[in-house]
Symmetry: C2
Subunit: 678 residues, 2 copies
Amino acid sequence: MPDFTDNLRPSQPDGPTTLARERAESNISPKELSHHLLSADGFLERQSRILSIVQLEPLFSKEKQQNLSRPQRFKLGLARAKLLRRLKDQHKWSHDEYKMAEYLVDDVSPYFFAPGNASEAQRAEWMPLIESWKIVGAYAQTELGHGSNVRGLELEARWDGKTKEFILHSPTLTASKWWNGSLGRIANHAIVVAQLLLPKDGSENKYVSHGPHPFIVQVRDMKTHLPLSGVVVGDIGPKYGYITMDNAYMLFNHFRIPHSAMLSRYSSVNPNTGIYTKPEQPALVYGSLTYVRAQIVHHARLVLARAVTVAVRYTAIRRQFQDRDGDKHGPEMAVLDYPTVQIRILPLLATAFALHYTGQSMRAIYQSTREDVEQGDFRSLAHMHSMSSGLKSLCTMLAADGVETCRRAMGGHGFGGGSGLIQLNNDYLSKPTVEGDNWMITQQVAAYLIKKMTAAVDSLASPASDKTDAIFKEYIRNRGSSPSGLDVLASDRDVVKSFELRATTLTYDVYEQRVLKKKSWNSLLIQLHKLSKAQSQSILVTNFFESLSTNSSLSDSTKSVMWELFRLFAFYTMENEAFEFFRCNAVTKSALDGLPARVQELMSRIRPHAVNLVDSWMIPDYLLDSALGRYDGRIYEDLYNRAHRLNPLNKITFNPNYWEDEIVKGSGESGASILSKL
Amino acid sequence: MPDFTDNLRPSQPDGPTTLARERAESNISPKELSHHLLSADGFLERQSRILSIVQLEPLFSKEKQQNLSRPQRFKLGLARAKLLRRLKDQHKWSHDEYKMAEYLVDDVSPYFFAPGNASEAQRAEWMPLIESWKIVGAYAQTELGHGSNVRGLELEARWDGKTKEFILHSPTLTASKWWNGSLGRIANHAIVVAQLLLPKDGSENKYVSHGPHPFIVQVRDMKTHLPLSGVVVGDIGPKYGYITMDNAYMLFNHFRIPHSAMLSRYSSVNPNTGIYTKPEQPALVYGSLTYVRAQIVHHARLVLARAVTVAVRYTAIRRQFQDRDGDKHGPEMAVLDYPTVQIRILPLLATAFALHYTGQSMRAIYQSTREDVEQGDFRSLAHMHSMSSGLKSLCTMLAADGVETCRRAMGGHGFGGGSGLIQLNNDYLSKPTVEGDNWMITQQVAAYLIKKMTAAVDSLASPASDKTDAIFKEYIRNRGSSPSGLDVLASDRDVVKSFELRATTLTYDVYEQRVLKKKSWNSLLIQLHKLSKAQSQSILVTNFFESLSTNSSLSDSTKSVMWELFRLFAFYTMENEAFEFFRCNAVTKSALDGLPARVQELMSRIRPHAVNLVDSWMIPDYLLDSALGRYDGRIYEDLYNRAHRLNPLNKITFNPNYWEDEIVKGSGESGASILSKL
């Protein structure tokens, strides 16, 4: 219905005018920078090609999806996932192309399965079925009572030598599988991890557990899609995010599965004797976990870039108050010109670049480690595992907190659905917990570093075995001598060294506590966590520095802003941990005193380029789904359109009289009609 | 449908066993402590009385509400709000009793209206209609383009001397009212704030704005509930939280309202001459804002206590891994026994108490300031306004961030709907923005302190006019002399003084920058924000200290734990800002070096009392709506019940085959059927 608001325009200067000016006044070329950031593996080309396909599909429209109920939203997610797969067939998409489509549509897919641990024979049997989606699989490891501590899982797989079957049984409620993606409503098969119980000394009454092992199990009927007898399985219900994912609970009641169900790549049970063969290379199990963590680190930059894109564009357009010291004429100030807005958004803009270079480096190291391992050289595995643990923890924390910081920096409209950050935030908040809780896995970093420090102390006279060893040995030799002499305000290389020195000092401290003073591990946990954070921050700063130092393709003007971003990231991080840098003798008190002014100065230099810098991340409007963050700056028009034309609540006229039970005007329908849904 | 899982129990020791042991092993009496905290104005008695009424109403059941769509959820919210009001009539509830019922049901009510600025005559006309809910009102101030800067509002109210009417008109899209609660679908009247445009020098063509003024306006037809002609009004759509609130947009097209519509308590227009009479006591407008901020501060403790209650109970029951240095026999460790879990939850437990004492103090100061003002004494108003601004900013930040910290500390289950923290978090995240953005209003604190410091410098020889003046004068006299000599690790009073000294030093720094060096206001904003935070932290620490020092009714055992909580709050805060305390000479380096160990020691002393301490907040299970936080500890049974018996998604059998368009098995309904909702 047309009305007088159809012809109204926002007050001037409006969004398009403002963004055009912002873009013209910076000498950074988003085209050049986006090529530098995202062209390496064809990402940009793939994004624009797949985008042109998916954004035409009506089923992929995001305009009203925030209004749906959980069941409706799940149906939509399933319909989209099916369509995505059909498009894959139709366009003969590669795996990367399919993943790009999923990324742009931005629904967590209820089809999610990565099988592992199968023997070659098992792979030959199952993989064609899995890859063709003839069967839908799920991975069922975590339980109601156990997540991180896999050894504590309670589901039992007891070997029955007579029938040559395993009997899956849940002895307790806490033995219920829990959280297992795709399994709640969609999957018909699952890889189920259970305690392998084998007869002790050939006895038929005594069993001993050989620890958790994976079994492939059909759990639903292929025709009716109902659970098989002896299986109770369902979706665990609403969650913070992941609304389109059917995370499952599942229990078994003396459920029998054949001998062939046990995935036997690394271990097996002899069907005739019931005798267990142990894994040959337990180190290999690190592999997939490390890969997933490396992926998470690499992905974090795009999550943060997305939030920062919205925040920079909106706050560049949004105006509020005139300069208190000014003449009070002219227009109000752009919100992004206030240092209190800059200090929340611009360090996060710098962080997105920091995450980028470390994500890239992680991928390269993963690749080379994998090649080493395939050639039987396991030496780099522990380093890679430690690094991926610490970085997963730090980077997901930076991205998750960063999204919320951006949202709050946008004030009232940041709380609205037009921010485009609600689902992003809800979904991403799973990341600090999944694939190793962010506070737990930092122990793995510390354990590795303590080991390296112990080795360095013990072999001080020998030549350094690797870079970490060299740094540690230099530290040990210089320990207790005069201040470091690092001048972080004057030298970028000294900034890198100060981060290194702080992490190394903290390493030595925990080495001293744990190895020399024999303190209990648990009493040191907070220190170990701080160490992991310091080490991971040092990696981020080092990779940022080295990438800029070695890259020669960027133009001078772009490169100079990139260096400012490097400094902003480093100094902002340093300021937040100032006392620790001071205590570790890594930065002088006078330099620390100078940091706030330096940070503010860097922000004022980066500010004019902020819009072009976020443009360089090339996040498409379709993915942003944000009135506040759209490329053309028509924020108020979009907010109004969402409210006035797209909001289904405005189709309903309510009865506001409290003494009348009717809810929808003229319907006579009473409040009690809602009771059936409660 | 019964199945084999009906008889399953969680593994032992289960939740009830664990919590019983936790409760028995602490010598804190929750009964005593809850009386101390919550009995003052009859809160506890009221809570239990109202609870027994509301939890019996089927419409107030929270069991499945997370599954509803926005429109369904809004209908439910409206039905509940109507029922609450009917219960008020039925039980003859006082305002406090009605508010208690609303708090327990925990839906933001779409009936929300607090009229102000009306003259006595206007109040006589409107209040009976408003209080009887014969009309439903809303307050419409903020606009699409302007929030904090009220002077920048664009809606016009132009005086037409011929007809003696005001003409409301929205000249731009950004002039649209926006965010106004209750107005989107429910209210039929609104207090509308618009630029008062009066003829300039009696001219009929030239108008001049006298700034924003409030008008009471009917916007919907009382019979049809449809918007009146010339009014476009609706709900702005889905948001982060506040799902049951119809925040509005509203525009006017040359909409005429009578002269009597202008609320004329403080200012008025002569209907015959069009001449404007100015407000007499502009200071009074501080009043309601300050009241709301004081309420927000007082409420924050209950929000945080709620999250901490859930986190403490769950992590006391949840077990994970055996002690790495132990013998690996016995059960796994309770998660709350890990220092890395304690460091996230226990300082927040201490913070809830800190917020409590300051909330109490704020209420008392508000009351006495109000009495002063009513007797014509405005001197304490600026202090109260400054304090309420800084504390609103700090306390809502502590509570909002605290809820999320608790949620993450609960790992996987913290991400699930059974945490009870999802709606709490979504709703509460409005608080850092509403009633003065948390980053903006800190300027008000700093401006006040700069003024006070200037006065102290200028009147150094005169006796102190108040406590702040005394502290500032002492600081100025001692400036530049030897270190403070405060021993924070040994003396609680020195802890308070060190917070005071830090805030005073930061005040002097900004005084120097702004008043002596004439730095621009905007260039100092980050420093001003830090100052406000330091000042507000000092107030929290001081009130905590003074409440414990003067209270004599608590038993020795309880009081001694309360002092540990005071120290934990103070030291934890101090550690996070260590470099600032150091730079301000408020704490020595060696004391700061000792803080981490002291914090850990305090946590280990508080840990045995954690469950009894959260019990003392007496948050009812009905309000918590949390499987993880329930009083009886049956966390796993409740999580399973929600998943297996209450989840509507499990009533639907899906068709998982991607090559078939059908979504619900056997229904034939295709994915395209969802398109109508997109």
